[in-house]
């Protein structure tokens, strides 16, 4: 590889690399950062990300127990069981973020039904 012609070819190539325009260098820079960020994506969830589904199911189960064995030991209407089935489905885990609201809603429904009945 030390032939003068190969060395000349390398010189010509290096010169063409040095002549890359600013816009191209900027795009390369952006591409590099995009690549590094793309690789960070899945890692950002870290160890906790793997526990999200299990935590969701556990929280839903806990709510079920609390409601069924609550202080007043109220009878659960059949519609509520359906609600919890929905809650336990994987796609509905985001609902668990508003657990407090759903608990309140459940309590309100029971109270309303009790008043009516």
């Amino acid at each position: 590889m030390n032939e003068p012609r190969e060395n000349k070819a390398k010189e010509l190539f290096d010169d063409s690399v040095d002549r890359l325009d600013a816009a191209t260098l900027s795009r390369l820079n952006q591409a590099r950062h995009a690549a590094l960020e793309a690789a960070q994506g899945p890692r950002s969830m870290g160890v906790w990300g793997r526990w999200v589904p299990a935590t969701g199911v556990a929280a839903a189960a806990l709510v079920t127990v609390i409601v069924m064995r609550g202080p007043d030991a109220v009878e659960i209407p059949s519609a509520s069981v359906t609600d919890f089935e929905i809650l336990l489905e994987g796609e509905s885990l985001e609902m668990l973020e508003d657990l407090e609201f759903y608990s309140w809603l459940e309590a309100s429904d029971l109270e309303t039904n009790g008043n009516v009945g």
Binding site: E3, E6, F13, T24, A31, R32, A35
Partner: protein
């Protein structure tokens, strides 16, 4: 690398999952990619004769290297990166062939104006203005054109050995072939270029 950095690097190999080690690895990757990206772009550009396509190929190679090989020793990164890039370039050429066949099938190939014309894309691979192009020098243009006319494997061997400076073993990793094949492809490329360029290659 300083002594403290060396100790830190060793501790990172033992416990690679710590946040500090992850940041250090990302910094090393960033440094590696920044050092190789411009030559990689020109190599890809000579191979596909289109700067935008070359940029996409280089970015894809960066992403795949970071995602799949970040944990490998950093002295393996250069041949691995070029292997990914060369695979991308080969895929690109395959797609172009299919595309050209489809265009011919639908009657838009042959001498039609819409045919993808490699020669038409060749004159300004660097994307410079006419004035800048004049300054670039005819020598590189001639060399580039001659390299583009080489068979794909010879072109790969020549660019990886001559432009990137990989040794035979590194080039073999990058090309996914044996050392002997690299030597054969490289030797043939050199002879073809000498025959084609003659006294101009100086």
């Amino acid at each position: 690398m300083s002594a403290s950095a060396g100790v830190f690097a060793v501790s990172c190999i033992r416990e690679p999952s710590t946040r500090a080690c992850t940041l250090q690895r990302e910094s090393q990757l960033n440094q590696f990619l920044a050092g190789v990206e411009r030559r990689a772009l020109r190599i890809a550009e000579i191979a596909v004769r289109d700067r935008d396509e070359a940029l996409d190929l280089v970015q894809d190679a960066m992403i795949k290297l970071v995602k799949n090989y970040a944990g490998r020793p950093d002295d393996e990164w250069t041949p691995l990166f070029y292997r990914i890039l060369q695979n991308g370039i080969r895929d690109w050429h395959r797609r172009q062939k299919v595309r050209n066949r489809v265009m011919v099938w639908f009657g838009r190939g042959g001498s039609g104006d819409d045919e993808y014309d490699l020669v038409a894309h060749a004159p300004d691979p660097a994307g410079r203005t006419p004035d800048e192009e004049l300054q670039t020098g005819e020598a590189m243009q001639r060399l580039e054109t001659a390299i583009q006319a080489l068979p794909a494997r010879q072109r790969e061997a020549f660019m990886l050995r001559t432009f990137e400076g990989l040794d035979v073993a590194g080039t073999a990793v990058a090309m996914g072939c044996s050392d002997g094949s690299v030597k054969t492809h490289y030797s043939r490329a050199i002879h073809t270029l000498r025959d084609k360029l003659g006294e101009h290659w100086l």
